[in-house]
């Protein structure tokens, strides 16, 4: 169990991501025939909720810069994840090598 613990945990994470995709059904198109968007961002839903609770509220400030398109936005998110994952991968590789070297030295 201990040996496979990380694999089991990662499989559980994959399951937690996959199950909603399979479980959530797309609601029927509204009266105007427009498709209802599912799996939109929670941040955006909260913004819409502010609009229904306080319809008179107008945001005073706009973002300095918005990604030019959804594609650019995913590129930046991928960059953020890649920077982090790259560093973790580098650390994992170097510490695994260090452990291996230390082990072979103590055997010699």
């Amino acid at each position: 169990m201990k040996r496979y613990q990380n694999l089991i945990l990662l499989a559980l994470v994959a399951l937690l991501v996959a199950v909603p995709l399979w479980m959530v059904k797309r609601p029927a198109p509204g009266p105007d025939g427009a498709e209802v968007e599912i799996f939109a961002g929670a941040d955006g839903q909260a913004r819409d909720l502010v609009g229904t609770i306080a319809p008179s509220y107008k945001p005073r400030v706009n973002p300095l810069m918005e990604p030019a398109s959804g594609e650019i936005e995913s590129m930046l998110f991928a960059l953020q994840a890649a920077l982090g994952a790259g560093f973790i991968g580098y650390w994992l590789g170097s510490s695994a090598t260090r452990t291996k070297l230390r082990r072979s030295k103590s055997e010699a």
């Binding site: 961002g41 929670a42 955006g44 909260a46 918005e66 953020q80 510490s95």
Partner: protein
């Protein structure tokens, strides 16, 4: 959990910034002190920061039919104490506010407060409680990371409900609505974050036991096996 740019009244935006700034400043001071004392921990601190970078970029689907992302702050809070995570979270949020228009500069204080202060402090407290209750190490890590994640989103819901109380039901009715958007969506994601934190912690225990030893988080060493 980002409150979008401009979506807080001015006094709220200022209030949350004033509340967050000293914690971030203290966090920088405490990181400096720790690194000076144990320079070998620099790499671990980088791993904790990188973990937050990765996780807060992963927008995952949830059973509520919307997407949100984990925070990744629990790991750093367990390793280096909650205040050290405040500047890390601030950097991540600044990156997202400037380049991605997720969150914003006026709401930065409020977002730092939920993701980089409440979450990590909750995670550190849960971890300590779990250790005191003699839970296995991995269970403590899981509970700390997932509850810290969840409380981040509960905090965001509170902040928005505080700024936009329902005209009929007031704060409570508004909180129920915002919690429906944030906290409910976050439950499976919080579980994912807990599991991923355990995975990284397992790798740390396998390869970086000495550095972990100098952090003094393991309690009495033999329990780490569990």
């Amino acid at each position: 959990m980002h409150i979008m740019e401009g979506f807080l009244p001015v006094e709220h935006a200022i209030g949350w910034s004033v509340a967050s700034a000293p914690v971030v400043a203290y966090g920088l001071y405490s990181i400096n002190k720790k690194i000076k004392k144990n320079p070998e921990q620099r790499m671990l601190l980088g791993v904790a920061a990188a973990f937050t970078f990765v996780l807060s970029a992963l927008k995952m689907p949830s059973v509520t039919g919307s997407c949100s992302h984990p925070t990744g702050t629990g790991l750093g809070a367990i390793l280096f104490g909650p205040s050290a995570v405040a500047p890390i979270g601030a950097v991540v949020l600044l990156f997202q506010a400037l380049l991605l228009a997720h969150g914003g500069l006026t709401t930065l204080g409020a977002n730092i407060f939920s993701m980089a202060i409440v979450g990590p402090f909750a995670a550190a407290a849960v971890f300590r409680l779990a250790r005191a209750a003699r839970f296995p190490f991995g269970v403590g890590v899981f509970l700390a990371a997932s509850l810290g994640d969840l409380l981040t989103y509960v905090t965001t819901a509170c902040q928005l409900a505080f700024a936009f109380p329902d005209p009929v039901g007031g704060f409570t009715a508004s909180l129920a609505k915002f919690a429906g958007v944030f906290a409910l969506t976050q439950i499976p994601l919080a579980i994912s974050e807990g599991l991923l934190t355990v995975v990284v912690m397992n790798a740390l225990l396998r390869f970086n036991r000495e550095e972990l030893g100098s952090l003094n988080i393991e309690g009495n060493g033999q329990e780490v096996q569990a």
